[in-house]
C-alpha cells in the first residue's frame, strides 16, 4: 500500500466509519488491534489484508482500500473472530456489511473476489427463479460465466452416479414470491 495521509483521510471519511458501524451494528471504534481475530482466521493466509487490518482501515476511513480488498470476499463467515474478539466486535458481520457496500457502490472486483461474487450471483439467481437452490443450473451458469466450461465435470459425474444431481429444478408453488422479495430489496437499496 502506498503512503497515505491519515489525518485528511479520517476527516474526509468520517462518514464511512459511522456508516459501517451503524449498518453493521458493530462498535468498530472499540477494536484495540490485539490481532486475535487474525490469529484464528482460517482464510487469513489467502487475504490481502488480514481481518484486524481491515478493521483498522475502517477506523482510519480508508474506504476505497477496504471496499476493493480481496479480504472482505474471502471471509468465509466462520465467525471464529467474532466469538474470540475481546472487544465484542462481530467481525463476520462487519465483513458482510462491507461486501454489501462494495456491491452497492459498484466496485469492480478482481481475482478470487470476483469469482466469489459471481458464485453468489449464480446461486441466488436460481433461488430467485425457482424458490429453491438448483445446484446443476448454478454450476452450469457459473462455468459459462467464468469460461471454464468443464470445471468440476468430474465432480458432476461422480455426483450423478450417486444420484445426487437433479436435472430439473424443484420449483416452489409460489416461486413468484421469491422474485418479489429480490425486487423489493433492490428497490429499497437503490433509494438509500
Amino acid at each position: 500500500m502506498p503512503a497515505i495521509n491519515l489525518t485528511s483521510n479520517v476527516k474526509d471519511n468520517l462518514d464511512f466509519i459511522m456508516h459501517v458501524s451503524k449498518e453493521s451494528g458493530q462498535p468498530v471504534q472499540h477494536c484495540y488491534q490485539c490481532g486475535k481475530c487474525t490469529a484464528g482466521c482460517p482464510v487469513a493466509f489467502a487475504m490481502d489484508y488480514p481481518p484486524n487490518r481491515i478493521i483498522r482501515m475502517v477506523q482510519l476511513g480508508l474506504k476505497e482500500h477496504v471496499l476493493k480488498s480481496q479480504a472482505i470476499w474471502l471471509c468465509a463467515y466462520c465467525s471464529t473472530c467474532t466469538s474470540r474478539c475481546p472487544r465484542n466486535v462481530n467481525l463476520a458481520r462487519v465483513m458482510d456489511c462491507l461486501r454489501g457496500m462494495a456491491r452497492r457502490e459498484g466496485i469492480q472486483l478482481e481475482g478470487r473476489a470476483k469469482k466469489i461474487a459471481l458464485f453468489y450471483d449464480c446461486f441466488l439467481d436460481t433461488v430467485k427463479r425457482n424458490g429453491k437452490l438448483y445446484e446443476l443450473g448454478m454450476m452450469l451458469n457459473y462455468n459459462l460465466k467464468t469460461g471454464h466450461f468443464f470445471k468440476d465435470a468430474g465432480t458432476g459425474l461422480a455426483m450423478f452416479t450417486k444420484g445426487k444431481i437433479k436435472l430439473i429444478p424443484t420449483k416452489n408453488e409460489n416461486y413468484k414470491d421469491l422474485a418479489q422479495i429480490f425486487e423489493r430489496i433492490e428497490e429499497m437499496e437503490e433509494k438509500c
Binding site: A76, Y77, C78, R103, Y120, F123, M159, I185
Partner: protein
C-alpha cells in the same frame, strides 16, 4: 415432540443422506417432523453476503410459514439452522427491522417461533430414552466429532460451546461409540468457498482430515452438509493433490444413531457416500 422440519435445498442432492437419515431416526425415536408447505431457500452465505436485508428476508419467509403451522421449527442443515435462528433473533429484537422485512416478504412474521438445530432436538430426548432404543451399540467405532462453524457460532445462536462443544460427543457415547478429544472440532472447512476457490478449501479440509487421522479414529461424525461434502467428496482429490492416503468415512450423526437403533444401512443412505462406509460399518458387532 412435534416440529416443523426445514430440510434445506440439498435434501435431495448433495446432502440426501442427511435428510433420509434424519427422517428415519426421528420417526424411530418418536419425534414427529412435519414438512413446511412451500418452504424456500434460506439464502445461505450468498444471501447474507449480498445484502443483510436479503439474508433476513429469505429466512423470514420460512419463519412466517412455520408460524402459520403453530409449531416450532427444526433444521437439519447447519447453515439453514444458523440463517433461520439468526433471522429469528434479529426480527424478535428489532421491531423496525421486523416491519421492514414483513413488507418485503408480504408474509408477516410475529416472532412466535423457536428455531432449533436437529442436534438439539435429538439431544433433548435425554440419554435414557435413547439408550432404551439401542439395539447395536457402536462398539469399535472410534470417532472424531466435527462440528464446523455454523451451529456453534456466533454466540446468539450457538447450540453449544464454540471452542469445545460436547453435545454430539455425548450423543455418540450414548449409542456406544468412542469419541476422541481433538483440536479441530470447530475449525472451518472453508464451506462456501469450495466452488469459487477450491484450493483454499482443499487446504483447510486436508488439515482437518490429518488431525482426525492423527487422533487415531476410524471415522468422522458431522451435522453439516457443507462439511460433509468437503470431507467426503473431496477426500479423493485431497489424496491426489497432497499425496495423502486418507480413507476416512464421514457420517452424519443421524446415520450413526440410526445404525445403533437398528435401522438398516439402506434406510440411512449409507451407500451414497463417496468414501466407502462398508468396512467401518462391519466393525459394529
Amino acid at each position: 415432540m412435534k416440529y416443523a422440519y426445514f430440510p434445506g435445498c440439498c435434501d435431495h442432492t448433495s446432502a440426501k443422506e442427511y435428510d433420509i437419515s434424519t427422517r428415519a431416526v426421528c420417526k424411530n425415536l418418536g419425534i414427529e417432523l412435519i414438512d413446511i408447505p412451500d418452504w424456500s431457500c434460506c439464502g445461505s452465505t450468498p444471501g447474507h453476503s449480498t445484502s443483510h436485508l436479503l439474508g433476513v428476508a429469505l429466512s423470514a419467509r420460512n419463519l412466517a410459514l412455520v408460524e402459520e403451522m403453530g409449531l416450532d421449527c427444526t433444521a437439519s442443515c447447519a447453515a439453514c439452522y444458523q440463517r433461520l435462528a439468526l433471522a429469528n433473533m434479529e426480527m424478535k429484537n428489532d421491531m423496525k427491522l421486523c416491519e421492514k422485512i414483513n413488507c418485503i416478504t408480504g408474509k408477516p412474521y410475529h416472532g412466535g417461533v423457536k428455531v432449533k438445530s436437529i442436534v438439539e432436538v435429538v439431544a433433548e430426548l435425554g440419554p435414557e430414552q435413547i439408550t432404551a432404543r439401542v439395539l447395536k451399540p457402536l462398539e469399535n467405532l472410534k470417532m472424531a466429532v466435527y462440528y464446523g462453524c455454523l451451529m456453534v457460532r456466533p454466540k446468539e445462536i450457538q447450540v453449544d460451546d464454540p471452542e469445545n462443544p460436547q453435545i454430539i460427543d455425548k450423543l455418540m457415547r450414548t449409542v456406544g461409540g468412542e469419541v476422541v478429544d481433538w483440536s479441530y472440532k470447530t475449525e472451518c472447512c472453508g464451506g462456501g468457498l469450495a466452488i469459487s476457490n477450491e484450493d483454499i478449501v482443499l487446504r483447510l479440509t486436508n488439515k482437518i482430515l490429518k488431525e482426525a487421522v492423527d487422533a487415531g479414529v476410524n471415522c468422522i461424525v458431522t451435522a453439516c452438509p457443507l462439511c460433509h461434502f468437503n470431507l467426503d467428496m473431496r477426500q479423493k482429490k485431497i489424496n491426489k493433490i497432497f499425496g495423502t492416503n486418507y480413507h476416512l468415512p464421514v457420517f452424519y450423526f443421524t446415520q450413526l444413531i440410526g445404525l445403533a437403533t437398528g435401522l438398516k444401512p439402506g434406510e440411512l443412505s449409507l451407500e451414497t457416500h463417496f468414501v466407502d462406509t462398508r468396512e467401518v460399518i462391519k466393525l459394529i458387532a
